[in-house]
Amino acid sequence: MAIDIVTVLIPGLILGIIFGIILQRGRFCMNSAFRDIILLKEYKLVKSVILAILVAMLGFAIMSFAGIITLNPKAFSWGANIVGGFIFGIGMVLAAGCASGTTYRVGEGMMGSFVALLGYGTAAYFTKFGALNPIAKFLQTETRITNPDGSSLTVFGDLTPIFMLILGGVGIALIAFFWIYKELKAKKAENKAMFDFSDLGIKIFKRGWHWAPTGIAIGILGWFAYISSAAAGRNYPLGITGGWVGWNKFWITGDISALGWETWLVLGVVLGAFIVALIAKEFKLRTPKDGKKILIQFIGGVAMGFGAVTAMGCNVGNILSGFPLLSVGSLLAGAFIILGCWVTAYLLFMRK
């Protein structure tokens, strides 16, 4: 079977490049976002994450009512969601980046993230197809709870699409009023222009993006990702783990059909981040000076790989794509990703 260039390779790669550009310019990393709530009391990135989720939610609801996409929330297996999510959360603090964060930082030339990515991809493959698979499979099948018809549990059952529409719309309105409008008003009070479009090129390519456009851009990218990915036979929006598992499967087994839409997406992320990091003069091949830190990043990557496959999704599959679909499994996994992140950040950085 050859790779379908028109529906799989090109759209996956292009959307990946756009994803990588937004991630690098917006410094969008969920590990930083969640960790810094407790560590630095810094909320910009988490605002960006929440906005991206709500924009995606509203879009998915509308596209579903319009018949453009079929909603496909992830399964609920509480044991797998809890164990996998928690281990993934621990791993991303050790690896110094979530699945998407680690991927885009490879494009910035951070060799520690590159080592983390090797651990992540390998462990994910071992968990999906290798020696670690029985653990993941046991947790996923023994603790699975579905609707009577076998479909995945969502928070509001049959009414979930309507609630996605309401929650998405109301949530965006609340953010616009309480966070964005307030910031603009504060700018006005300082006699600065509310929207300053001068030096737009410099603002886009030389400086980090504001959290709001970053969040909106990632949410909207999710809509196109859903349509494009479904057309390629993978009915789900953005994801990272499956992409790296696919590359491993291709290199190990030689099976070219493993190179699906998601493999081109993750490759695109690295490329996109590389291009904009070069333009912004932020590309540099660098390593942590302390060899121990590289080892810790590798161990973190391994934990992320095992956790993501066990929990049936990383922070992108479960939080960025799964929260908008209101999947009970994704919400539980996401909660434990955040919990694992907080416990580890507290133990590593906050104890005196």
Binding site: L40, E42, F283, R286
Partner: protein, 77 residues
Amino acid sequence: MVEANDILDCRGEVCPYPDVKSKRKVKKMNSGEILKILVDYPLSAERIPETMKSMGNEVLSVEKTDNSEWEIQVKIK
């Protein structure tokens, strides 16, 4: 250019070490002293000055010195 009392080299450090280290460092320094922080991680280069300001310290300068390298000068309150 003012002479720095101390230099904190965070180049090569992974997220969030530059932030945590610089925060710990300035807490140990005396009022009026100047710390020069070297970072090569873009997010920290943007975030450290803000953290320093919110701690009440004065950010004297943020200078991009090379590809993905920044020099931040902070005066302790």
